[in-house]
Symmetry: C4
Subunit: 274 residues, 4 copies
């Protein structure tokens, strides 16, 4: 009816007003939202498993949480920013000349900020649960340890080099899968289903490479929430496994560069113009 069409027109005008002019800002917002969704679902699933003491999900549901988190974390920003979701990816694209160095810092900050805020959201949503489970003692280790909700910690048996090797293999595996899915000269994923298959890649990595150090194959995913847990009261113990992290970040970025060249990394990561 007319009244309805009239309201719709008004709405359209409003929407046009709301539209953000700056393309860079829209891209940063997209990256922010993408990483935010990824961490919200991923860390949320860890929080649910931890605080419910495995009664409302076990380890596999964490794998699935991060997998589907990735899927929707790619769906949300893909059309706007190309869904890097990962500082190492953005940096690699710069090195490969597929992404401008000037936009790099904005992307990285958006990603880190998204991860940080998502961790805060999970902490807010599970505040009562965490308090009830820990009795208010926020610890990194022990029977009621909850720091693992936010960032990853290597298994006790893991040596430094073991952690480095684990991260290199995990990242290489993710990369080979993602690049194969996006390579038009190969068998690309069907249009519109790439995010689902990238999620599947994250799922299988969690199933086959998760037990050593929690497959933290994304610096933003790991550092943002870790920083939050440090500030929020888990203390500086959260930064003990620092060395490993730094090492694999370097290794990873180097790796991205090499593999990127080998596999024509440029196919699937060019942000779609709009």
């Amino acid at each position: 009816n007319n009244n309805q069409q009239y309201r719709a027109e008004i709405m359209d005008r409003l929407l046009k007003r709301c539209r953000i002019k700056s393309r860079l800002f829209r891209e940063c917002l997209a990256e922010f939202f993408g990483v935010y969704i990824l961490i919200l679902f991923g860390c949320g699933s860890v929080a649910q498993v931890t605080t419910s003491q495995n009664t409302k999900g076990e380890y596999p549901s964490i794998n699935l949480g991060f997998a589907l988190g990735t899927t929707f974390g790619v769906y949300v920003p893909k059309g706007v920013s190309g869904a890097h979701l990962n500082p190492a990816v953005s940096l690699t694209l710069c090195v490969l000349g597929r992404f401008s160095w000037t936009r790099l810092p904005f992307y990285v900050w958006s990603q880190l900020f998204g991860a940080f805020l998502a961790a805060a959201t999970v902490a807010l949503q599970y505040y009562d649960a965490i308090m009830d489970f820990t009795g208010g003692h926020l610890t990194v280790s022990g029977a009621t340890a909850t720091a693992g909700i936010f960032s990853t910690y290597p298994a006790d048996y893991l040596s430094l080099w073991g952690g480095v090797v684990d991260q290199i293999i995990g990242t290489a595996a993710l990369l080979v899968c993602v690049l194969a899915l996006g390579d038009p000269h190969n068998t690309p994923a069907p249009p519109g289903l790439e995010p689902v298959l990238v999620g599947a890649a994250v799922l299988v990595i969690g199933i086959s490479m998760g037990s050593n150090s929690g497959y933290a194959i994304n610096p933003a995913r790991d550092f943002g929430p870790r920083l939050f847990s440090y500030i929020a009261g888990w203390g500086d113990e959260v930064f003990r496994s620092n060395k490993i992290i730094h090492l694999w970040m370097c290794n990873k970025i180097f790796l991205y560069k090499q593999l990127g060249i080998l596999f024509h990394c440029n196919h699937d990561t060019e942000p779609t113009k709009n």
Copy 2:
């Protein structure tokens, strides 16, 4: 052969006769069926897990039951009514001027009635199981509590504000995912697979936000079965967690409106004409 073609023609005439003339009635019937399927599978999976005492499925199978329930609950009515399945969605669309206020009450009643009748169906289907499991004592809490089959109850540790925050975050997450999947300016889901991906969004929300208060992110899904369990003999205890519900319903509708404007909610929810 001719005989077969003849029968087919007769059938076609019969079908034409059966065809419902009123479009509004067809839409209401569609919404009714959609919510009915959603609750039939969703609450059914809870009933199976509860009455089989985790031997024929555990918490994750409930997440999957609601996820696939949503998938088929969207497939069934989508072509006719646009598959709102949710009073808050219908209301939001009215506010956004995408849906006529005159049809709103019919939609909402169909949704509530579908949820109510589905709960009754589950109770009928699991009557023997519930009687065997509870010994005839229909309780809301305790070792043999069965009210949870029909509607959601917050965890003991959950504070009022904790529940409100939980619901706001859960609804916002669902919305962002659903809107991204339907946004043609972004990376939309492949045609014909939207229902599957909406189901995946419900799945990941159940995996990452299910333990606080059971992610009842749909007023019809929660109120219809709750009313049934009240009438069917679980007593007025089922309405104890009322306050939370009212609060998040308000919050949610407000939220839908805001986000709807932000994300051009109109893309994926216009009922397809037929």
Copy 3:
């Protein structure tokens, strides 16, 4: 190279020779293979869970076994026979004038024979396991009962009418989903993925309606293996739950007819010509 092309030509001629002329026979063969695959995977998963005493899969993996069994059981014959896989479906299509009465008996026999032979195959494949698990005592009930591998048995608490209601609801749910997926006037499943979504429907029914009497929503699936287990040495106890089965078969066929008319059953079940 030439030698290779030459071999290929020879092969093509061989294939042409092998090609079965009679279309009816090809269709029956297709139905046979479809049901065979469905039961091979479905009952196989039950055998694995039973004989491994839940160490190599639990109840959900049985749901998944029948779901994926259905998926591939539809992929294999769909192009040839339309993948009825179910006597009730074939009969309904006859009643609806979409399938010739003359072909009905051939289809039903192929389906039953496929189910029977698949049960025999599972028994052959798991012979050592069953012998090791049961110590050679093939029983229908008790701690080492193995008759459940082949056909479904109602839970102890289930009353006759409870079983009937359970079967009617289960079959109706399956039908509504399958018909919605195939209805071009609605939101049909993407071409080539119908079998996957039909499998998903079977999965959610197993998750939400499996605990009462094992969702035996297909007479061929239930009767063929039951007959085998009777012959193979489980004794006539396997036919005790007969009454229920007969009742729901009648109810189901009646139901198919009604719903078929209501939902234009003809859309998705016409065998594709070839």
Copy 4:
């Protein structure tokens, strides 16, 4: 901006330089990578379940690991080599005149080498975990047996003929599914999703036929890692179940040939030219 375009051009020239001229070498590299991915994820999931003593995944996650491993193991080489991933497949295609005998040895060696190196990678990645779990005693049987990470061992109850039958049925099931998915005269899988559905076939076989002897339906998948575990210190006990393996390899190749002819094996396995 120009600077960026300039860098991109340089990169393209670099890529052209990197491009491998020999088509055969590219195909072998593709087969190598495909099997490598398959085993990396498959055996990795076994390693995670074994060394974490079922706390970070149980038997089903192994099924999923091999299923998704197959999916990505097909995505990676499909466009280049047709993704045989299996000596028996390559051999069958030769027999069917669809693949040149001259390329056969290169393919088989690439597949075996990929499987061997992937097993080594898994051992490297899980070195600390295996040492911590076994205390340094690498055994084939016993409470802390770890040889099962690399290759499959029949259950204790399994007789020789039982193993042979198990393997024949498993291979036949896989074949029928894969051939149906690729048969254009039937209902083929949607373009770009074949790898996912082949993975689903592997999943359902693992769910329904995994408990007898671990569904080692691929000689390369089994022999490569077995050889590695022999060399790496698990001793010659890893070759005890030899007889079975040889038998089913012969049976399988024979089977492939027969079924291949019956089902027009040629449809889905011709390597796509590029």
